[in-house]
């Protein structure tokens, strides 16, 4: 019960932020905010020892009990690790933002409300055991990220970046919802724990692969995997604390979390292994290759984040291989999941610090353009030290934690080579090669980032501000993170035992009994083996490439534009906006005639085809009445007068011909034994003709030159079609009557029950009096409407005069 409420603490605290911002102007609002992540981090830290010993903490709050929807907080190794990252780095980011954002110029209440909203959402994502509430928090992270990217909403680029990230992550989120629903239908439960328990039976289900792909779409869009990474570089328009927090340490790892969490369910599928590992590796390569092209500090870091997320993703894919081999404990794949989680922690530390340094550089020099920067080492020594530690760790240089995770990564990728299942033995060699090339580029951009910024020539004439060291408050957070980078290198096994192994147990629950049973011991020195030689190769080639950057950087200009997915995204957005609008304008012409043509054609096509497909057409003359000569004459009169209406040049002829049609119809009523109809028809026709004449007196001539109606072939075909359709339907209906009329009842009872002799009139006012009531209503409404139209004209004209 209580743990669920912890998730909502930040969002509840957010309610008070605007009040504090408005009332307490003297103190930076961030100080109040800081309490929340610190308290939460302390609470979550107190769970560490329990979780280490294999305990899980579950609590539940019902939300919609009738639909089995509830908030379930499930804390095991994986969710505890993420919760600590979220609150811990959250605290550091809030501290950093206190010095980064100006109290007087920025709208801090907006910023911290969004940030706290995000914190709740993220805690909800990693702790939720219920698929639907997981999705709810997932979308809340998208929304709060959208708000934070667009924080400086008066800048075009911010709004563009916010919209782009929103479009892509919401797309993925919706796909993921589809996958979740399929998954919950398959397993008949929403609980992830229960789904994992029945994982072996889910594999054979028809929807298994579909739900797998849909959920992976969600994870890939959120974690900026190829080809969905394009939103991340544009999200760099957010304030730097946001970039450090959301777009390097936490939100982009939501997809990683999802993949890790669902690995026990899906890992037994080959498609999962291939997709996760393949997409991850390709993203790793792609991101690292294009990072060197960037000139914006945060742009480099964005691509580097993309690339490192790809690395973690590919490791999770390799970890899933462990589900496919017997005796997994003896194989090297056990490394992969461990390496993934270990690198996830490392990445959060060094990338967070690097983003903060990029923010400091921006803050103290006024630019993030790497071409204008240089020679800041002596001016900003502390920032340089932190940046160097972060970059070296990212490049995988000892004695920093990135080295350890890189070695484990290479070990895992080398192991894939020897794994002979689903054709990996033939293709497997590619994996370590791609990983190696990507590591070389990682090395290059890490050095590019730190040395192009801090060494070389100082160019004060290009900088908007005079560069100097940042205030100490701003440096605290990156220094703490950089210290962690070094500390983790020296005590990897403590981190491994406390955080990583319980998380690995959650990813591979079938392989180990308890966290302490995971037989992995990280060591910085593991003898002369292939990984070490690969690392040395990375350093040498990477260093050479770094020295020659100006020479080969032109490579990027050869095929920059069409290779860029941004172009494709822009094209797609234009297509949605302008081209689809253009297409709909092609048929939405605004002309009533066109719409009538569509309607008539569809009615004709649908009715006639149904008639013949269902074999419903029939024709018989049985039981029809005999034909007399005067009837044929009447029919001819009717046809002639109708044609006259059609072809007449003047409106007077048309009206008179229409009157002739009406009177002939009345004559038909006479010969068909319908005296009341004939009577009504005669009167109504007379009034109608009078009305037509009255109205037409004021109307224009049929056309300016009293033309005949113009012959149009398609109108002719359509009207012919409508006529034929009605004829066919009527003939079929006339030829096959299934039930007798109910009029027998009226005939028998009209005198006894209703006391009348005129059956038609008794039906109208007695049996079916309601029809008559509302027909009277129709008539009076028409009368009032006509009156209104004539009267309102005057007042509207007056209004028009007033408006002028």
């Amino acid at each position: 019960m209580v743990q669920v409420l912890f998730i909502f603490i930040p969002i509840i605290a957010a309610i008070f932020i605007p009040v504090l911002f408005k009332k307490v102007r003297g103190i930076h609002t961030g100080w109040f905010v800081l309490i929340v992540p610190v308290v939460l981090a302390a609470i979550y830290a107190s769970y560490i020892s329990r979780v280490m010993h294999g305990e899980t903490i579950v609590s539940k709050v019902n939300w919609v009990p009738s639909l089995d929807i509830s908030f379930i907080s499930y804390i095991d190794g994986l969710s505890l690790l993420f919760s600590l990252l979220i609150t811990g780095i959250g605290a550091l980011v809030v501290l950093y933002s206190i010095f980064y954002l100006d109290r007087t110029r920025e709208q801090l209440h907006n910023f911290y409300v969004y940030l706290l909203m995000f914190m709740s959402a993220m805690l909800g994502v990693v702790q939720s055991d219920h698929l639907i509430s997981l999705y709810l928090f997932w979308e809340l992270t998208s929304i709060s990220s959208f708000l934070l990217i667009g924080y400086w909403y008066d800048r075009d680029r911010s709004r563009f970046g916010a919209l782009k990230s929103m479009m892509i992550t919401i797309f993925g989120g919706l796909m993921m919802l589809g996958g979740f629903i399929l998954l919950s239908i398959m397993g008949e439960t929403y609980s992830i724990r229960e789904l994992i328990a029945q994982a072996p039976t889910l594999v054979s289900h028809d929807w298994f692969t579909l739900s797998l792909v849909l959920i992976l779409l969600g994870a890939f869009t959120k974690s900026a995997q190829f080809p969905f990474y394009i939103w991340l570089p544009d999200a760099m328009e957010a304030p730097t604390p946001v970039s450090a927090y959301l777009h390097s340490a936490t939100m982009v790892k939501a997809g990683i979390y999802l993949v890790a969490r669902l690995t026990p369910i899906y890992a037994s599928s080959e498609i999962w292994v291939w997709l996760v590992m393949g997409v991850g590796l390709f993203t790793l390569f792609w991101g690292s290759f294009f990072a060197v092209k960037q000139t914006d500090l945060k742009g480099i870091l964005a691509f580097s984040t993309v690339s490192q997320l790809g690395l973690i993703m590919s490791l999770l894919g390799a970890g899933a291989v462990a589900f496919h081999v017997d005796q997994a404990q003896d194989t090297v794949f056990k490394f992969a999941a461990f390496a993934a989680i270990f690198h996830l922690i490392n990445h959060a530390t060094f990338k967070g610090s690097l983003f903060m340094i990029a923010g400091i550089v921006d803050h103290e020099t006024g630019t993030r353009d790497i071409r204008k920067l240089g020679g800041l080492m002596s001016l900003m020594p502390i920032s340089f030290t932190v940046a160097a530690i972060g970059s070296f760790s990212m490049a995988g240089v000892p004695p920093f934690n990135g080295f350890l995770s890189k070695e484990m990564f290479l070990t895992s990728m080398l192991a894939i080579k020897d794994f002979n299942l689903f054709a990996m033995d033939t293709w497997g060699t590619i994996f370590p090669i791609v990983a190696w090339i990507a590591s070389v580029f990682t090395f290059v951009y890490s050095f590019y980032f730190v040395f192009k910024t801090f060494t070389g020539k100082y160019k004060p004439e290009l900088l908007p501000k005079k560069a100097h060291e940042a205030p100490i408050g701003m440096l605290i957070s990156p220094i703490i993170l950089a210290a962690l980078v070094v500390i983790i290198f020296f005590i990897p096994n403590i981190i491994g035992d406390v955080f990583v192994k319980p998380a690995v147990l959650a990813i591979q629950p079938f392989l180990y009994d308890s966290a302490s049973a995971i037989p992995i011991h990280v060591s910085a020195w593991h003898g002369f083996n292939t990984e070490l030689f690969m690392t040395i190769g990375i350093f040498i080639v990477g260093f050479l490439l770094f020295l020659t950057i100006p020479k080969w950087q032109k490579l990027y200009k050869i095929a920059p534009d069409w290779l860029s997915l941004n172009r494709l995204y822009d094209r797609f957005m234009t297509f949605l906006d302008k081209d689809l609008n253009f297409i709909s304008k092609l048929y939405m012409t605004g002309s009533i005639r066109n719409y009538l043509v569509y309607m008539f054609s569809f009615i004709v096509v649908i009715t006639i085809s149904t008639l013949f497909v269902k074999d419903a057409f029939s024709f018989s003359m049985e039981g029809t009445a005999p034909i007399h000569v005067y009837e044929i004459i009447l029919i001819l009169v009717l046809i002639i007068s109708t044609i006259t209406v059609l072809l007449s040049k003047s409106r007077l002829t048309a009206i008179i011909a229409l009157g002739a049609v009406g009177y002939t119809v009345a004559l038909f009523f006479v010969i068909f034994n319908a005296p009341d109809l004939a009577l009504t028809q005669l009167v109504i026709e007379t009034v109608s003709v009078a009305l037509f004449l009255l109205a037409f007196y004021h109307l224009p001539k049929l056309s300016r030159h009293e033309e005949r109606i113009r012959f149009r072939l398609n109108n002719f075909i359509i009207s012919l079609g409508v006529g034929v359709m009605v004829t066919l339907v009527a003939l079929s209906a006339q030829s096959q009557k299934l039930v007798p009329s109910i009029t027998e009842y009226y005939k028998e009872t009209v005198n006894t029950l209703a006391g009348g002799g005129n059956i038609v009139n008794v039906i109208l006012v007695d049996y079916r009096g309601f029809d008559t009531l509302f027909e009277i209503t129709v008539l009076s409404i028409a009368g009032m409407a006509i009156l209104g139209m004539i009267k309102l004209r005057l007042s509207r004209k007056e209004n028009e005069h007033e408006n002028k």
Binding site: G590, A625, I639, V665, F672, A695, L699, Q734, I781
Partner: protein, 112 residues
């Protein structure tokens, strides 16, 4: 007789449709008027014509013609009269306000 009537109704409906597809507002109204005549005749014809005497108990002897469709048509005649009258005045007002009875000319400001 019914078959012949149905063919006649088919012709009436084809003509009415052609008139409705015209771009002249007045012709459209004429078309709806013809259409309602055709439909009234159709209701009567489908029920079967001349199967008996006028449906008046005191005046004629059984069998009687089906009275129900006659009641329905009577309702329909009145309603179509009301609608026609309304549409006529509407057309008149449209012409007064917009100065045209050309349906192609009567569009929203967007298309101009």
């Amino acid at each position: 007789m019914e078959t012949l009537m149905i063919l006649l109704i088919g012709v009436l409906i084809a003509v009415a449709t052609y008139l409705i597809l015209s771009k002249n507002l007045i012709r459209v109204i004429l078309g709806t008027a013809v259409l309602s005549h055709a439909v009234h005749l159709l209701i009567l014809t489908i029920a079967g014509v001349k199967k008996g005497n006028v449906p008046l108990l005191e005046e004629a002897e059984a069998p009687y013609t089906d009275a129900l469709p006659q009641a329905l048509i009577l309702t329909a005649i009145v309603i179509s009269f009301a609608v026609t009258a309304f549409v006529l005045v509407l057309a008149y007002r449209t012409y007064q306000s917009n100065g045209t009875d050309d349906l192609e000319g009567l569009r929203g400001p967007e298309n101009e």
